[in-house]
């Protein structure tokens, strides 16, 4: 093999490292589950452990491979150029999902690990190919596939209906994104003849269709129903991947497209698109927060908290259209995914311990399981810190740029209602113990599993809330060399 071929092989390994680990899981997990490696009763434990190791390996490999020139693969017309955000999502996502799979265990731990591995690979690939139709289509189709995989073959009508709803949403959004691309491609030609649509109207049309895809996928009001049902019925790894992580990657792509779109035209984007996005963002925040306060099922509460997170992303889209060069709105996607993942970690810990999904039946849990309480405190702290950091004091100031006191007051109330929903979960834990909780054996707070859980939660909340500046550190580690780098795509 010549030196050039060796280098290309190495580039391919670096470019596709998350995908390779996902593909590796296909033979490895069934192999370690086989009787050759132990008894049949422990097969799920071995499968789960293998999945956790692969997730951690994928995370480390993404960090080491980075997004520099050496990781860029060019074969003929095809160029795969891993991006910094893609690698950051895989690095952090690998570690977060490894922790969730470890805590969750269960009979399908191996399969859930595979869902996480393939989800992260899809995110990495979609952020590594040039902007256009393909990356968004890959994320939409990947989301539908993973929700079907996460639902499994279980004859559960509720799960099947959640996947059906996802299928319908993806079917509609695929069509909308083709129309968005059609309108966008027409913009440069719009000055050729006054009989055609104007540049302003086409730009507004593209902004509107792209925003529609974003709102539909992240689960903003009034498209929240799909997201809530996903969290209510799918396993937590599948819910987080389909409901939060893939939408976070999609929002990075769409916010970047909106930024390019807005900066390419001299006039402000009309058609009331920005106003509608601000209004939708505020309504989504308030709706998510108040619904999370009013519901009893833990899965639904988590779904509404994710809807609240979608509110921030929607405000981010509006902010990007107003200020295309602002980076603040882009930085809310990853911390938001981490915050909801922390709530997911809390949910799976509670569910594994008590097998309960009703908050009323869960009263008093924090008195007996302090380690899980620490996870919830971390989640609530991070949830409060993210908007303060990104929207009220960071790259985008809602008070200055929202253009209306209504927007500022609504955002403050929305953030407050989401924080109140998290505090309510904790107060339920401090209330008088329910009979079900009282019967359950209390775990030791200083057991290795509890320490691992608390340390993981503290680290994740530190990253999400900006207390640990891993984003900047990781960007430094992943940043391509300025001289050697040949940027192929403009994804932030």
């Amino acid at each position: 093999m010549s030196e050039a071929e060796t280098l290309q092989m190495l580039s391919a390994l670096r470019a596709f490292s998350p995908l390779l680990f996902a593909l590796l899981s296909l033979p490895v997990i069934p192999l370690v589950r086989s009787n050759r490696f132990g008894s049949r009763s422990d097969a799920h434990v071995r499968g789960g452990s293998a999945a956790v190791l692969l997730l951690l390996a994928s995370s480390v490999a993404a960090l080491l491979a980075g997004s520099g020139y050496a990781s860029t693969l060019s074969v003929g017309l095809i160029t795969v150029d891993p991006s910094e955000p893609g690698r950051l999502l895989v690095t952090l996502g690998g570690a977060v999902f490894a922790l969730i799979v470890t805590v969750g265990q269960g009979r399908r731990a191996g399969a859930m690990g595979q869902v996480a591995l393939f989800g992260l690979a899809i995110i990495d690939i979609s952020l590594a190919i040039p902007i256009g139709l393909a990356p968004i289509v890959i994320l939409l189709v990947g989301s539908a596939s993973l929700s079907a995989l996460a639902a499994g073959n279980k004859e559960d009508a509720q799960r099947a209906r959640a996947v059906f709803r996802d299928l319908r949403t993806v079917g509609v959004l695929l069509t909308v994104i083709v129309v968005a691309e059609l309108l966008r491609s027409a913009i440069p030609l719009s000055a050729t003849d006054p009989a055609y649509a104007t540049t302003s109207s086409l730009t507004a049309g593209v902004a509107m269709t792209l925003s529609l895809v974003l709102l539909g996928m992240i689960g903003a009001f009034p498209f929240h129903h799909r997201l809530v049902r996903i969290f209510e019925s799918l396993p937590i790894v599948g819910s987080l991947m389909v409901g939060v992580w893939i939408p976070a990657a999609l929002s990075l792509i769409i916010l970047n497209e909106l930024s390019l779109l807005s900066s390419s035209v001299s006039e402000p984007i009309g058609g009331a698109v920005v106003t509608t996005l601000f209004f939708t963002g505020i309504v989504t925040l308030l709706f998510g927060g108040f619904s999370a306060l009013l519901h009893d099922d833990v899965g639904e509460v988590l779904g509404f908290l994710a809807v609240g997170n979608a509110g921030w992303l929607t405000l981010g889209a509006a902010a990007t259209l107003l200020h295309p060069s602002a980076v603040g709105p882009l930085l809310v996607a990853l911390p938001g995914a981490l915050v909801i993942s922390l709530f997911g970690l809390w949910r799976i810990s509670i569910r594994r311990h008590y097998e309960l999904t009703s908050l009323q039946e869960l009263s008093g849990w924090a008195r007996r399981t302090q380690a899980i309480g620490v996870v919830l405190i971390c989640a609530a702290a991070a949830q409060t810190a993210v908007p303060v950091r990104e929207f009220f004091s960071g790259g985008f100031s809602i008070a200055d740029d929202g253009g209306s006191p209504f927007i500022t007051v609504g955002a403050l109330f929305g953030a407050g209602s989401l924080a109140a929903a998290a505090i309510r979960l904790f107060l339920v834990g401090l209330a008088q113990e329910s009979r079900d909780v009282h019967r359950t054996h209390a775990g030791k707070i200083l057991s290795p599993a509890a320490i691992w859980l608390m340390a993981g939660a503290i680290l994740i909340s530190g990253v999400a809330g900006g207390f640990i500046n891993i984003e900047a550190a990781a960007s430094g580690l992943l940043r391509p060399d300025a001289v050697e780098s040949v940027p192929q795509n403009s994804t932030p």
Binding site: G132, L133, F164, G171, V172, V179, E181, L189
Partner: protein
């Protein structure tokens, strides 16, 4: 024969089979879907001298996924001949006049130029695209049946891609691969979810 001379029959076949794919049941619906997808792919990629890899990929994905999604025993010859009688197909369309009218309206609307800078736009491709969008979108948004929704999604997406192709031409390689995967995934998930719901509700 010029490939362009095939556009009119292909556009008519795409619109008619698209309408049957969302109105018929079982055999006729699946056969109509395959016919619609083939006609739409031929219109979109316009093979002249040789078949493009993107067209082959699209057809392979749709045929493969349809074969997997087909309920067992659906390709029995006698039943197939019985279900595909022209009289039956016409009766099906007559039972769903809104869909039939949507198909015709779409073909007529396609002849009116859009307000877009479209110098290379093809009237027949645009007509077939608009017709498939009008046929597929209502059942995609409202149908309670999983397989029918999946078929409507394929019809609608084919329509959007035809509309796009009438203005911008065929897709690039990455997008072609992603779209072929989309068609396959829509059909496979539809079949899997329909099976699960049938089993769960039968218990």
């Amino acid at each position: 024969m010029s490939p362009l001379s095939l556009e009119l029959p292909l556009a008519l076949v795409a619109a008619l089979s698209g309408a049957l794919a969302v109105t018929s049941a079982r055999r006729a619906a699946w056969i109509a879907l395959v016919l619609m997808a083939t006609a739409a792919a031929l219109l979109e990629f316009r093979p002249s001298d040789s078949l493009s890899p993107a067209l082959l990929l699209r057809l392979t994905a749709i045929f493969g996924a349809t074969l997997y999604a087909l309920p067992p025993g659906l390709l029995a010859w006698r039943a197939l001949v019985h279900d595909l009688q022209p009289r039956r197909l016409l009766a099906t369309l007559a039972e769903h006049p809104v869909v039939a009218v949507s198909a015709v309206t779409g073909l007529i609307l396609g002849t009116i130029p859009l307000a877009l800078p479209i110098e290379g736009s093809s009237v027949l491709l645009r007509g077939a695209g608009v017709a498939l969008l009008l046929i597929g979108l209502p059942p995609l948004l409202t149908s309670r049946y999983v397989e029918a929704t999946a078929r409507a999604a394929v019809v609608t997406l084919s329509g959007a891609l035809l509309l796009r192709a009438s203005i911008l031409g065929a897709l690039d390689l990455f997008s072609s691969i992603a779209m072929a995967a989309s068609f396959a995934v829509l059909l496979l998930i539809g079949a899997a979810v329909a099976g699960q719901l049938t089993k769960a509700e039968g218990q």
